[in-house]
């Protein structure tokens, strides 16, 4: 009996040793690097070093959104252990925070849920004197969802628009309304996001993306019900997978996915629809009751530095509101900077931005949107 247990433990230990033996120092996890991977990364010094007494920092962030180098460097420079927990939807993050009993120091809410979180008392005000506000492009500050940036700091921005494989789609769509064309049936991937899909339907009818008018929503529901059978799948986690795999040829996706899909296969094109794309912005925010405030401020300051934030250009292709990072990349990472500026996906044309729409929280109309969503998806 003891013999047996001993052998079992030996196997488990040997197995784990085998894995860790392959381990080495942290290497930069590069997604967009076309040739060989560079050697060890040197962590820059913090520009405003603050004293941090906390021993840990609890991050609650989006999946695939923080460069590993940031974590390694922050731990090295400040000696603070980082616990990273991830979510893949704002609703998940909101539900966790609203339920109470969580202990996070930083979250990354998207614009439309910030208002709701403030109303529910889930966020605390940030001290702008402690933050590098000057690093940011002013067009991303002081937006309607958080006037005066009392609670949030910009992180990354992006759009939801139409992507298609130019090799397979001979008659490419130029507007959301085009998606209803019968030739696209069974070849599309949509985001699994009721607000985005119902929203774009509303746009095709000429209504507002955030309407609470039941008649308008009803019309949208009828129109959407015709479209849904043509959609092959809904995916808000990794829609590019189905696109790259050839399961679908076109669909609605967001900036990061479109850019990565294009890298895999240059035939993919990202087009801003005539009705206007959906604009969004992710932000840093501090939940009420965060226990490691000093570490949180240190983290934001350190990672918002130009010589740190540029890594987002390398690892996660989105629109960068951090001007300091762009300036740094212009001189020090010219390849990345040029790739960023040359792509309409990351460097969105001004008319597309002017034409775009932001999603806002619709309060008591939320269950109505969800009901429409359940009906059009479930009524098959």
């Amino acid at each position: 009996m003891k013999d047996k247990l001993l052998k079992v433990f030996v196997v488990i230990i040997l197995g784990s040793l085998l894995l860790t033996a392959c381990g080495g120092g942290a290497k930069p996890t590069s997604v967009s690097n076309p040739t060989s991977v560079s050697g060890e990364f040197v962590c820059p010094d913090p520009e405003n070093k603050v004293t941090v007494t906390s021993k840990e920092l609890n991050l609650y962030v989006w999946t695939e959104y923080i460069p590993t180098d940031w974590i390694t460097c922050f731990e090295k420079v400040y000696g603070v252990k980082i616990n990273r927990e991830e979510y893949s939807s704002n609703e998940e993050m909101y539900a966790k925070l609203n339920a109470g009993g969580s202990n996070y120091d930083l979250v990354q809410p998207t614009d439309y849920i910030v208002g709701l979180m403030i109303r529910q008392g889930l966020l605390q005000e940030i001290d702008k004197n402690k933050l590098p506000m000057s690093n940011f492009n002013p067009s991303y500050l002081n937006l309607p969802f958080d006037p005066g940036n009392k609670y949030t700091l910009p992180y990354e921005a992006g759009t939801d628009a139409i992507i298609y494989n130019s090799e397979k789609v001979t008659n490419p769509p130029t507007s959301f309304a085009d998606l209803w064309k019968p030739e696209y049936a069974g070849r599309m991937v949509f985001l699994d996001d009721s607000r985005v899909v119902i929203g774009m339907t509303l746009l095709t009818l000429g209504y507002d993306v955030n309407t609470k008018d039941t008649a308008q929503l009803d019309a949208a529901k009828t129109k959407l019900a015709q479209l849904i059978p043509n959609v092959k799948l809904f995916d808000s986690d990794s829609p590019k997978t189905a696109l790259i795999a050839g399961d679908v040829d076109l669909g609605i996706t967001w900036t990061g996915e479109a850019f990565t899909a294009q890298q895999e296969n240059p035939a993919f094109k990202f087009v801003y629809p005539k009705e206007g794309a959906i604009l969004w912005q992710d932000n840093w925010a501090i939940p009420k009751g965060a226990s490691h405030l000093d570490a949180a401020y240190a983290w934001i300051n350190y990672t918002s530095q130009g010589n740190m934030f540029w890594m987002m250009l390398r690892d996660f292709p989105y629109i960068v509101p951090n001007q300091a990072a762009l300036d740094y990349a212009k001189t020090n990472q010219a390849d990345l900077f040029n790739a960023y500026m040359n792509s309409t996906i990351t460097n969105v044309p001004l008319d597309a931005i002017a034409n775009g729409h932001r999603i806002e929280d619709v309060g008591d109309a939320t269950p109505l949107y969800d009901k429409i969503w359940t009906e059009v998806k479930g009524g098959q």
Partner: protein, 307 residues
């Protein structure tokens, strides 16, 4: 008190059962009661619970909606009953297919040489011990348009010079069924095996001696004696299928909405915990009812514990 412990058998029993009671009451009964209380509440504008006593969530699940488009006070809305029905059908279909596939295999193992039985059983268990989510992912790799199955079929068609159009298997209700059957197959094999294993060889010999052909033996001897295992397996398969949301999410392309998906969405996207709680409890009652009638007819199998 120690003296009382030694002498009073009833007290001894209570002491032994106390830790279990603490966990069951604390982490099961009380949460269920809380869920029940919430289910009677209403949704505030921002998605919080306004406590009260109202049955409107339950009424809504069964199709009588109170917010009607045409100005009536109540109207019939079959959306949620459809979802419940779809979940029940999927659960029944899955269980049926699982029994079909599991029975021959269990029979094979039960009647193999005793020394080899454990090996065969372990072979059934190994996939079970890999990660549930990973197993679903493996099916995505098999079923997708450029996946393994289409690749093999295409290669075969090439050998015969036939033109091959890839099968659209992934992101369909069929894929969800295959995924469910795959996930829960081992849970049926083990209980059926246990009850079949108990049947002594002499019984088969006796039946043969009395002139029964293999089919009659199966019908009159094997099948009735293996029923406890089938019942136990059904419970272990039917109930999880009703509540799973991952398989329908990943393999169904988020289009196949089952009760599990509905509940999960109420707590996340829709921010309506009152409706979600009601749906949870209705799901629980549905499974209890089906289980009750099933075990009443076929008996409750101790084989539920087979490992």
């Amino acid at each position: 008190m120690i003296k009382r412990l030694r002498e009073n058998k009833s007290f001894q029993g209570t002491i032994l059962a106390t830790p279990t009671l603490i966990f069951m009451v604390g982490l099961l009964i009380i949460p269920l009661i809380l869920t029940l209380i919430i289910s009677f509440g209403s949704r505030s504008a921002d998605g919080n619970v306004i406590y009260g006593f109202s049955l409107h969530n339950y009424v809504r699940m069964f199709g009588f909606s109170t917010d009607c488009q045409n100005g009536k006070s109540t109207c019939f809305d079959p959306l949620y009953t459809q979802i419940m029905w779809r979940s029940l059908s999927l659960a029944f279909n899955t269980t049926f297919l699982v029994i079909l596939l599991a029975y021959p295999l269990s029979y094979f193992v039960a009647r193999s040489h005793p020394k080899r039985r454990n090996t065969f059983l372990f072979m059934v268990l190994v996939p079970l011990w890999t990660n549930f989510v990973i197993r679903v992912y493996a099916w995505m790799m098999l079923l997708r348009t450029q996946g393994v199955i289409n690749g093999v079929l295409g290669w075969l068609a090439g050998l015969f010079g036939l033109h091959f159009l890839p099968l659209e298997m992934l992101y369909t209700p069929g894929a969800v069924l295959v995924g469910m059957v795959y996930e829960f197959l081992p849970f049926m094999i083990l209980p059926i095996y246990t009850s079949l294993e108990k049947i002594e060889n002499s019984l088969y010999e006796a039946a043969a001696d009395l002139g029964a052909n293999p089919f009659r033996t199966f019908l009159k001897v094997t099948l009735p004696l293996s029923m406890p295992g089938v019942v136990a397996g059904t419970i272990l398969v039917f109930i999880p299928v009703m509540g799973t949301f991952i398989v329908s999410d990943l393999l169904g392309g988020k289009q196949v909405i089952l009760v599990g998906n509905l509940i999960q969405r109420q707590f996340l996207d829709a921010r309506d915990p009152t409706f979600g709680s009601a749906a949870s409890l209705i799901l629980m009652v549905m499974t209890l009812i089906v289980t009750y009638f099933y075990t009443r007819k076929f008996g409750f199998g101790e084989e539920i514990i087979a490992v």
